[in-house]
Symmetry: C2
């Protein structure tokens, strides 16, 4: 390894970053409620993460709300909340077209990314995602860097992805997206890109297929974190400063008989207040096998005639609903872009998800147990830095650390 | 050890408990945010807790709100939320007298305790608390059982405490209340009471002096959890089924210069709406050195003339304030007894505490850093059971487990 990496500071979105003279790898451990790490550590399955904790820092950070993938990945790569970057969900009702659409395009991103700014200061950047859906947003604004997904690894081309023949480079074939391998491919790619000096400032974003499907003590979950640990070790051995956090946690959302614990909000609204309500579920993405498009956050678009305050008060009393905000309050309290949310924002309990109508959801894949996220109880996530924090950041850790502070911690926060 | 312990089931507060043929010890690890356990485990300082996790169950549970000591200890020993048991804080404005008073007396408890019911079914019960303030509530309704505090260990008498010469029994002199020893005395007493067959159904409630004063990676905190682990081991070696949870978590509540991050709510209200507001801080107790009576929860008693909705909306916009509820909503959402709260209930952020006026708080003891609790971000706590869960409780663990389910888990939930 060359020991010469650009240490030129750069600023982006009102924050400054001073990269270290070392490779930097930030990992988004998608859906990693802290319990997954606890259980794997207790069984001695994550020796390298244990080392990171002992030598560096481990704490909890507060993610962005709603606790969904696109929202939080966007926050992590920009260093700012959704108010600023504009990504309010995986899916939203576009006020311009009146249609509900995926929010997967970089066109929706309202600010520059840290990766783009790092590239500008001379770092060789790479973004590796499990799901193709995130690739465009996360690689926004860069001119040269690498941007690949595990899901479409075999489609990568120099002109569009900054690299090609990825399967050969990584030493694995393109994985099935509904698998542990989709995430492990991302980590292995990160190791190869840094190890082969293709990149030295890397963002690696996994997928939460395993966490949706398995509880922390289930054997496939433990094996998954054990496998993750091997790649953490490779990154450490390559001399990288490694930061790991998550986009959101994960909780069981099921009844005593293990069937999903769903509040069908659009059905309920139509029954109580008449037709015309549109409930948007921003968890919706092209990968619904994980969760049946059921999460703990919903947006209500009400017909003009609806008595909005009465609707809000009524929804707030539905068992399992924990928070209801009007548009202005939601934007302020949940840090959301006011033009990309509904008339009301609704959060549900630790064990409850929100659906539209029973007809809108295929529960066949989650009939024997649903684990999901999106609400307040998936907001807190692990936050781990591989090197000792410097005095300033030791103090900062005694505050309301956000998951989107992770790039600041691995650049400005570590001892030289 | 005799292997004969009463296994007669008993019911209390609408729940049934089937005690195992083994000693039962439930521990309230006061103020144990999960991070304290994580850090100690990562340094191999809690081998017996690690064993409990591997052989039994470790997860997170949701505590009662406000996340204060009396509220949650009362929930743990009754198995029900504050709505039912009536303890809404350490301190409240008594509507009958119009005076603000400590809520330390069993007279305020509105239901029976699990310990009292266990005694009725033939278990020999003991309650050991660090702070004297909790002894009366937690020992309510029992006729014979032992009830002692570390703080006043030397004052225990057979007639009133069910045991005497406690210092000799425990092998330690009465500890200073502002110390780690105040908690360790409780655990040692628990071991001696079970080991000497004085009791076989025991509740051990520690104090959070260490957690208020030290972050999870600070050496005194690590040493404290290491010492706790030794007693966990003793309890396990005595054959006890051990359950451990916490009353609340703990977060740093300070600004960048380490000074306390306080919203002086009564001052602000008086300034904006005129005099007459009374802000009650239910964290207040006789032991203010810990926290300066500053926590993340407050009750507002407004003058009759106050425009309550406008006040609520205004308070909700104060930076650092996260939730504001009117009396009815607070009772419903936070599960609080409606006659023992204020006109408004207010919660503050992960790094913010609420005060009355600057004159009401002596900050000299927290000038170099404040750690406290009371709000939403100290609601989630560890939940650990020493034995494998049976199939029914493995399923129950996939739900919104509460810290006050711990007695149900250690009685009904473990494999025989």
């Amino acid at each position: 390894m060359s020991s010469s990496f650009s240490t030129i500071p750069f600023g982006v979105n009102g924050r400054n970053y001073c990269p270290p003279d070392a490779p930097v790898a930030v990992i988004c451990l998608d859906g990693s409620a802290d319990e997954y790490i606890d259980e794997a550590l207790s069984r001695d399955l994550m020796p390298r993460l244990k080392q990171m904790t002992q030598e560096g820092y481990r704490g909890m950070a507060r993610g962005a709300l709603p606790s969904f993938t696109n929202v939080n990945n966007s926050s992590i790569v920009t260093g700012v909340p959704p108010t600023r970057h504009g990504i309010s969900g995986n899916f939203f009702l576009d006020p311009d077209s009146g249609k509900s659409v995926m929010m997967n395009s970089a066109d929706y991103l309202r600010c520059e990314t840290i990766l783009s700014a790092a590239e500008g200061s001379g770092r060789r950047t790479a973004v590796v995602t499990a799901k193709e859906k995130l690739r465009d947003i996360l690689s926004a604004g860069r001119k040269e860097g690498i941007a690949i997904s595990a899901e479409k690894a075999d489609e990568a081309r120099h002109a569009t992805h900054g690299v090609e023949q990825v399967e050969g480079l990584v030493g694995q074939s393109t994985p099935e997206i509904y698998s542990a391998d989709a995430s492990l491919f991302v980590l292995q790619a990160g190791c190869r890109l840094i190890g082969g000096a293709f990149a030295d400032f890397v963002y690696l974003s996994l997928t939460d297929f395993i966490q949706h499907k398995y509880a922390p003590t289930d054997s496939p979950a433990l094996q998954f974190y054990h496998a993750i640990d091997r790649y953490l070790g490779e990154l450490l051995d390559l001399g990288a400063v490694v930061g790991a956090t998550a986009d959101h946690g994960m909780n069981a959302k099921q009844q005593a008989d293990q069937s999903p614990n769903v509040v069908y909000l659009e059905s309920k609204l139509d029954e109580e207040f008449g037709a015309g309500f549109q409930v948007i579920l921003p968890i919706t993405d092209p990968y619904v096998l994980h969760h049946g498009a059921l999460g703990s956050f919903a947006l209500i678009h009400a017909p003009d005639s609806a008595p909005l305050e009465a609707v809000a008060n009524w929804v707030d009393r539905i068992p399992g609903i924990t928070e209801v905000y009007d548009r202005e309050t939601a934007a302020r309290k949940l840090e959301l872009p006011i033009d990309r949310i509904g008339d009301l924002a609704v959060l549900s309990a630790r064990d409850v998800v929100i659906g539209k109508t029973p007809e809108d959801h295929d529960l066949s894949h989650v009939a024997s147990g649903l684990r999901s996220h999106g609400g307040r109880y998936e907001e807190m996530v692990p936050f781990i830095v591989s090197r000792p924090l410097n005095p300033e950041y030791r103090l900062r850790a005694n505050a309301d650390v956000r998951n989107f502070d992770i790039f600041a911690f691995v650049t400005n926060g570590v001892q030289p």
